[in-house]
Each structure stands twice: as C-alpha cells, then as structure tokens.
Symmetry: C2
Subunit: 152 residues, 2 copies
DNA sequence: TTCGATTTGTAGCCTCGGCTACAATTAGGC
DNA sequence: GCCTAATTGTAGCCGAGGCTACAAATCGAA
C-alpha cells in the first residue's frame, strides 16, 4: 500500500524516503544508549578519584547499584575501549580519553539538571530523571540549554 | 508497564547510606530503559494502524531501522507482556493495555518535543533527542513541563 | 491456477549487562 | 608473621535486542 507523499521541513540528505528519517532517529537513540553505560562509569570513576583519592571496583559497584562482578566486567569494557586502565587487584584509572568523556558527561549532567530545575522540575526529580536523559541530549540541544540558562 | 512506585524492590532514600540514593537513580534509569523499546513499538504500531489501517512487521521494521527478524522478535515480547496480539501471517494489534501505553508514550513524546522547542532547541534536534529522552521523563517532570508550557 | 516475488516466521549466532558461585589476592587484627 | 576478612577477579548462566540465513505462507500477475 503506497502511502501518501510526505514533505520534509529539514534539508540534510537530499530526498530520502520519509520513514528513513524516523529510522535514523531510533538508531541515534540506540547508539546513545550504547555509550550511556561508559559515560556513567567514566563520570563515577572520575568523581571517586576526586573525592576518595581512588576508584575501587566495590565502591563503583555500590554506587551504581550493581554487583561487583558486573562492575568489573564493565570496567573491562572501558579498558577495551581505551577509556580506563587498571592492574590486577589495584584501583581503576581513566585514560585521557576517559577523563575527557567524564568531563563532558559531568558538564552535560549539570546542564540537564539545571535546565530541568529552571523550567520548574523539583530538584530531586530533576536529579533522578537527568540520569537517564543526559545521554540523549545532543550538542545542539545542549547549546540551546546553555543559552536558555544565560550561559551562552 | 507503568512505572508505578507502589511496589518497591528498592528502599526509599532517607534511611539509607548516601550512596544508595545514587544507586537508586541508576536503577531507575535502567528499568526505564527496559520499557523504552516496548513503548516505541506500541507507539509505532498505534501510529501505523491509525495512518495505514494496519501494522505489518516489515513496516515496523523499516520505521525503526531494524531487520524484520528483530522486529518480529520484539513483537513476540510485546505479546508475552500482554501489550499486543497477532495471528500467524496477519498484522499486529494492540491490546487495551498496549493502547494505553501507546497513548501515554505519544503524549509524553509530544510534551518533550514541545518543551525542548520552547526553551530554544531547533525543531529537528528536538525531534531526534526526544526519541531517547522521552523514556526517562517521570510523571512529576512531565507535569512540570505541562505547567511550564501553560497546559496545566 | 500456477508460479515467482514479497512478506512473515524460525533458527541460530553475537554482544551487552545483569546475576551467583567460587577462586585468588590483598589487607588488617592479633 | 599468620590467619581471617574483605576485596578483586573468573566462570558460567540468563534475557534482551541486534544480525543473517533459510523456510513457510501469502499475494498478485500471467
């Protein structure tokens, strides 16, 4: 059944079938989800090193609410991706790439919380929701948030 | 399923160590992610039935940008969860529960897009980001959005 | 009606991110 | 210094959600 012709308001890649646009959005959301966990770990490891002096797997696990085995497995993934390093039975450290990821994740997190609060979301709800939202906020949207908050 | 907080596998804050709060937030984000796919499917199926008269697996797959096999497998999960029905080689339909989920997902999606646009995010970026964000917006935050947009 | 193209479904494989159970190592109390 | 407790790491299981390849059913045209 041929559907009626739609029109696009946005240029980008010339003339794709209309549903490709939608598919592209879902794909974006999926890839964002794939990096979400890495961002959470990087941010947390950075925090722990800053406040505790070191980032130990059990602390990471407790903070994230997962078993230590899960945390260690995820840390292994961070290492595979070149974001962290660690030696056997020693703490975890971030590579420069990991630090950068953590810094950007933290900045994004704060901006999202502040934006939510600014539009009237209660602080606690903002903190909770931001945890899931932050990974899906594009740079463009982030800039708009900063502008809205008067930090352009 | 709705994110009812009536049953709690996780204790409330206040009488817990400080890091439990953080763990609780991460857990919320994880469970939200678990229902995200179901919401996307329900919303899309509802849309397709509305605009095309039927929801066929291949159309669903194309819109979501996944293989038809993946779509069919996910549809099977929707059926397991009591959100959809289908007979062999026939289209997919939503149960009342599925319809409800779709309706709420769509309303939330629109509210998120509108809120983003209202704070200055370009339309196209808002559409893209909302796809990932919508699943992590709590009812409380949603109400704040509605109030902000003057639709309280 | 028959036959090929399309659609739908099945089988099997992969990675990821949970988990428990168990093993190895380190750290602390005595 | 030694022995126990805590920590760290490993193995193996599970389900979710991707994929390809193949099989079965339906549709449509000749």
């Amino acid at each position: 059944m041929p559907k009626s012709k739609s029109y696009k308001l946005v240029a980008e890649p010339a003339d794709l079938p209309p549903e490709a646009d939608q598919a592209h959005r879902f794909e974006k959301a999926r890839t964002a989800q794939a990096t979400a966990l890495l961002e959470d770990y990087a941010e947390l490891i950075s925090d722990l090193i800053g406040t505790e002096g070191e980032a130990r797997p059990t602390d990471i696990a407790r903070r994230l609410g997962v078993s230590h085995a899960t945390a260690i497995k995820s840390i292994a993934r961070l290492k595979r991706e070149g974001l962290a390093t660690s030696k056997l039975y020693r703490g975890v450290f971030l590579t420069p790439a990991g630090e950068m990821l953590a810094r950007r994740a933290r900045a994004r997190h704060r901006l999202v919380v502040d934006l939510l609060v600014a539009v009237g979301v209660p602080q606690e709800a903002a903190e909770v929701d931001a945890e899931g939202i932050e990974h899906h906020v594009s740079d463009e949207t982030l800039r708009a948030f900063a502008t809205y908050l008067g930090r352009a």
